[in-house]
């Protein structure tokens, strides 16, 4: 089974990286962009097909290691091995 964990800065946290990219986009003429926030995408392959169990474990280790709950949130998505994702 494959999993994808998206780690994002909490909305209250300033994202200077996103702000810099926003400024660059606007300089390039993409003035319709009004906000950019940058996070992390972590892709995992997991030796289990029990999606409930995988989800529980993923939540556990995402909280413990992949994200810092003080400043970040995370979302988990699961995919079958055969999916093209």
């Amino acid at each position: 089974m494959k999993a994808r964990v998206s780690v994002r800065l909490k909305p209250a946290i300033l994202d200077p990286q996103g702000k810099t990219v926003l400024r660059s986009l606007q300089q390039l003429g993409f003035n319709e962009v009004s906000s950019v926030r940058i996070g992390k995408l972590i892709e995992l392959e997991i030796d289990s097909s029990d999606s409930e169990e995988v989800k529980t474990r993923l939540e556990e280790f995402s909280r413990k290691l992949l994200a810092n709950p003080l400043m970040e949130t995370f979302d988990i998505e699961l995919f079958d091995d055969n999916s093209r994702e």
């Binding site: 990286q17 810099t20 992949l66 810092n68 003080l70 400043m71």
Partner: protein, 239 residues
């Protein structure tokens, strides 16, 4: 000299893969201050003989994922956590501070610098608290000079926890101007309340972004950093 005055204090400096200020810390405490100091490898399990543990600066485990995030699960960290919980003195400098926040021994997180640049320069710091083992030789409000060298030094805590940190008097150093004034201009990295260094609630764990080990040898200019290590030596000898 009495026995108490001449007693060597026992220090350890943890070395993670990617640490790069470990030698400076060993040199500051061992050669310059003439104390008993040894290196602790990140896989070591034994540090009960020590009185002070330093987590040095650098890029432990390449700063992968988040600065300090992987070091937090190094085998030696469990021992450091035990050591701190039993009242042992712990100093986290720069990357060491980041590791201490990841372990939860210190509150908060160190985020990317507001200006997104790695900053390497001398800063002035105002001493906010002198009743700690790390600052007992300093005076309240004393302005000291130390270098910073970091990319993630932007101290963050949610507002309610920040209020608690301040109310408990856990802030030890703030970035200030030459006269000790606290302002946005004197803040190099965007840290909330200009915070540069804090202790835990019990006061036995210090985390700071500036590098005292780089200002310990008098040959390198002002020895303001030495005062921090000498405070610890005084504190242990007085105990």
């Amino acid at each position: 000299m009495t026995t108490a005055e001449s007693k060597l204090t026992r220090w350890g400096v943890v070395i993670f893969p990617g640490s790069n200020c470990d030698k400076d810390a060993l040199d500051a405490v061992g050669r310059i201050l003439d104390q008993d100091v040894r290196a602790i490898w990140h896989r070591d399990e034994h540090l009960d003989d020590l009185e002070v543990v330093i987590l040095p600066g650098g890029f432990s485990y390449g700063d992968y994922l988040r600065a300090g995030a992987i070091a937090r699960f190094a085998p030696v960290l469990e021992r450091v956590i035990d050591f701190a919980e039993r009242g042992g003195l712990v100093i986290g400098i720069c990357n060491g501070f980041q590791v201490l926040t990841e372990t939860g021994l210190l509150p908060g997180a160190l985020m990317r610098n507001e200006g997104l640049r790695f900053i390497c320069r001398e800063v002035t710091l105002r001493t906010e608290k002198t009743d700690t083992p790390f600052t007992c030789r300093l005076m309240d409000g004393q302005v000291i000079n130390l270098p910073i060298a970091h990319n993630e030094g932007n101290f963050y805590l949610p507002p309610d926890q920040l209020e608690e940190l301040e109310a408990n008097g856990q802030v030890v150093f703030r970035y200030c101007d030459a006269n000790g004034g606290i302002s946005a201009e004197a803040n190099p990295n965007g840290s909330l309340n200009n915070i540069a260094g804090i202790t835990n609630r019990n006061g036995n764990v210090l985390g700071m972004m500036p590098h005292p080990e780089r200002r310990t040898d008098p040959i390198l200019g002002n020895p303001d950093g030495a005062n921090i290590f000498r405070s610890v030596i005084d504190y242990i000898r007085r105990k």
